[in-house]
Symmetry: none
Subunit: 201 residues, 2 copies
Amino acid sequence: MQKLLLADDHELVRETIADFLRLQGGFDVVTAQSFDEAISVARAKGPFELVMLDYSMPGMDALSGLARMRAQTGCPVAILSGTATPDVARRALSSGASGFLPKTLAPQSLVSAVRHMLSGEVYMPLEFLNNGETNETDVNLTPRERDVLLGITEGKSNKEIARDLDIQEVTVKLHVKTLSRKLGARNRTHAAMLGRDLGLM
Amino acid sequence: MQKLLLADDHELVRETIADFLRLQGGFDVVTAQSFDEAISVARAKGPFELVMLDYSMPGMDALSGLARMRAQTGCPVAILSGTATPDVARRALSSGASGFLPKTLAPQSLVSAVRHMLSGEVYMPLEFLNNGETNETDVNLTPRERDVLLGITEGKSNKEIARDLDIQEVTVKLHVKTLSRKLGARNRTHAAMLGRDLGLM
DNA sequence: GCGGTGACTATCCGTTTGCATAGGGGGATG
DNA sequence: CATCCCCCTATGCAAACGGATAGTCACCGC
């Protein structure tokens, strides 16, 4: 029987989906309620043939959890999301996710999606690509902040960014501080990662 | 009967695939031998339910042809490629392609892939994500360097990384320096971005 | 044994970040 | 006009980073 790992912090959602996969899909489903627990479970009760991670979940830290889980287990990892924006879906795939599962997915489609991923292909509903042009995530940076963030992602120093934008270095620092606060980043590097994950540039 | 548009400048490949889709899939396949012809055909003989474009083809201009075709037809557009690198595949999906079809795909898989895309989902073989190491760059980090790089991508300071790995901060700095040199990064932020782009963790 | 390599520690130094405080100008909106 | 918001600048300071140099220790292959 194929072993799946499902991690979601909402108990109702988690257990509903798990039960459905057990009954309708005949899978052996193990659950976890946080990213850290998922990592522990993956180590303790593995190997799994597919891991499904909720996108907004304690410890997930946007998409960096995806990379960590992939690195540890080496098995296909899918992203599960309720507040699904097309852009997040695309980025998930770019980061190596085996699939993107919106929670609005019809139950029967879920089973076929899981089978699809188990057979070594990528699952993703098309509507998450077509509508994808306007991706207003809840974060809204000012144009200047985006400029600075772009510079950060290119590994530039504040001084370089200042020269490129023809402003003073102190001003760059100001933007770095404010955009980091808006993104909930702990420093410029974190801001760069979150900015890329959220597709802000 | 579902109408498909297939554009490829190599006649043999184009007609072989087209015939196969007609016979085995029962599709109505129209062909074109350049991107510009594909655009004309799409306007003249449309609408189509799926368009397949060769990645390297006169007028395609890498992936910018994908966006133009999507904008004009509004229907799913897949990328067909012989010289398939995982990177191109990822970029294709990020640019809104409905699928990525390597020409090495088994014929029968091609039909199922087309059906998959017609049903509104995205097709992509997993090996183009998992093997996406893109080891052209031939970076080989030591295990410890990967640990440190992972910490950097999570926005941690050297001090935090040191505590987590139970080593001294100076040692972390050493690893940061060496892994940055290996990656060709200008600083830790740049290293984090390159590390994520190259899928090193 | 010997050389090579990975991992680690130490001290020192200049540069860069990060953060706080304290403003000025311009444009939009009420 | 008053009031935001965005953008810019300035000064100052503590912390973190980046780099150089100089080692120790353990492991592995020849």
